[in-house]
């Protein structure tokens, strides 16, 4: 094994004979004059986010701070959701009456697969692309939870919505790279472009993604 390592490193160094010995990696300039921050005012930014999530054919709705519980309840009722997977730290006030919460206490894959849906919060949302990022932080749980159930209901607070991708990357810098904080960037429901290059929703991930954008 280590022989392969030595050999590859030797080949690389030999291949790079044209690179001056004094040159450092940082010495190769990377111009970052692309946009790093988005000046769009908050209200417009949220509106963008909602619009772009919807363009992926996800269901998206804005709700007032005190309307969240009702919105979750009516979303579940509309789909006939009876069992809802939720990480241990999802607030109990989010779980609608009459729906049984499957709290994740090492639920098996079969249990997850059999549930009607999953309810999560998120790390942040990106207006530019209509993306939701999960990073194993508050109210999200491990990755399998938001993967196996066919319906993902995701709560995004307005103050979690950033403008553009570089802002999201900066906001995630604290937890990115920590082994216990794997990330999943989600843009719309599972889809494929494999049949005649048209986007078709619904392959292996949740076929329905519903997003509630809560004031606050």
């Amino acid at each position: 094994m280590s022989q392969a390592r030595l050999e590859i490193l030797r080949r690389v160094r030999e291949a790079l004979r044209d690179v001056p010995a004094a040159e450092t990696a940082e010495g190769v300039a990377v111009p970052r004059d692309y946009r790093r921050a988005d000046p769009t005012p908050r209200e417009e930014r949220i509106a963008h986010f909602v619009e772009r999530v919807a363009e992926y054919r996800a269901i998206v709705r804005r709700v007032g701070a005190d309307g969240l519980a009702d919105a979750i309840a009516s979303a579940c009722a509309a789909r006939g959701v009876r069992t809802l997977v939720a990480a241990a730290d999802v607030p109990s006030s989010w779980i609608p009456p009459g729906v049984s919460a499957l709290r994740d206490d090492l639920l098996t894959n079969e249990q997850l697969n059999g549930a009607d849906g999953v309810l999560t919060g998120c790390a942040l949302g990106i207006a530019q692309t209509g993306t939701i990022v999960l990073d194993g932080g508050a109210a999200q749980g491990r990755r399998a939870l938001s993967l196996l159930p066919d319906y993902h209901l995701c709560v995004v607070r307005e103050d979690q919505v950033v403008g553009i991708v570089p802002e999201a990357v900066a906001a995630l810098a604290g937890s990115a790279g920590l082994p216990d904080r794997p990330q999943t960037w989600i843009s719309g429901p599972s889809a494929t472009s494999d049949i005649e290059l048209n986007r078709v929703e619904g392959v292996h991930g949740p076929r329905t993604l519903e997003v509630l954008v809560v004031a606050g």
Partner: protein, 475 residues
Amino acid sequence: MTVEPLPTSPAVPFQESARVALANTQLRRNMGKATQTIRGKRANSVGELPDWQELREAGRAIKERVLRHLDDYLVQIEESVRRAGGHVHWARDAAEARSIVVEIAKRHGTKEVVKVKSLTTDEIGLNPALQAEGIEPIETDLAELIVQLAGDRSSHFLVPAIHKNRSEIRELFKRKLGLEHLTDEPKALAGAARAHLRAKFLSAKVAVSGVNFGVADSGTVSVVESEGNGRMCLTLPEVLVSVMGLEKIIPTWQDFEVFLQLLPRSSTAERMNPYTSLWTGVARGDGPKEFHLVLLDNGRTKVLADPMGRQALYCIRCSACLNICPVYERTGGHAYNSVYPGPIGAILTPQLAGVDNAPSLPYASSLCGACYDVCPVKINIPDVLVHLRGKVVRSKQQKGGWPGAEGLAMKFLARVFSGRRSFERAQRLGRLAQKAVVRDGVISKLPGELAGWTAMRDAYPVAPQTFREWWETRS
């Protein structure tokens, strides 16, 4: 150590396979429709970003930085992945990479591995190697599943079954998955794949994936996908093996902000692809308990050794250059006889496999330059093509005394172009000589050894009066 040929090594010259492909009208119709659709969408999606050119330049520069200091970054990513609880393996060539993966699968006593579509594992010919050990590789990407069920080959990076239309896919699923009442609605076809693979995901012990980006300073690895089969493979099995070409490293987390803008818009023309997974080593209580990263050379250091051709390693496999290419649009991917088709394949395959093993590929282009314009990391494909053509000719010259018609012609031209007098003399001579072959102002058939040039195109004769001659008569 020698590099073995890529699994579908271009033993057949491009021009020959292209002729076969061009005769298949269904294929041409499918290809034309698909590439035209995606071209329009890509242009819109890219046009939405006011800083697209700045992002391209940053992407190019990051890749240049990585390649010029690749030894440091390789050592760094190895350390980072180990620190995060992962295992790192080094593979000099395809055979070494295969045996690493097969060995891990065998150690866990599994009979099946689930796979996320990965060009790199195609490149090393992993599936046959697993099968030879009694382990069934299950392709989980819809298009790969289609290709695998059909016993066919991929013809596009992102959409390997781009050459098949929906009714062909329905017939295939009916036959192979025993689904009697399937319609050819894309939704129904996707649903059939979902049902077929769900049980496999739930029971698989070992998964194999490729890698889109690996961050050197944290060891974070990422897979960019659409369907969720990637998430399944990366999350559910106990053991995950990811095979990564040496060139897929990016230095820091911040660099993601560039590539996660460049890649989706260039590939599927979306603002963002449905799912991107990022993980670092092994997470407690979440996902695989064992993670292996295989760093693969397999000819990449040979590409690296050519300061001009090296830029082919910047490629993020978006496939924009395939979709825009007028040659690819007509021939499809199979004509390139390589895992890497299209314009990028025309510069990557000959460099990975050696120009002698793919001498026709640098000619599989009209040098129109469209690929360079769309490339999100600014690989100058036309320049590299010309550079490689030079290498092909030189290699032929070195091999045998007889330099061939092209070699002679190039030598002759070099002399002609070397001075103004010789050039002008040649123009006058040409005017005399062409009298025999010009018809209606064009030359549609050159004689003898030169016939190859006019087999596919007309040549234009030397003008009756050159600009210089006209200029002289003026003064």
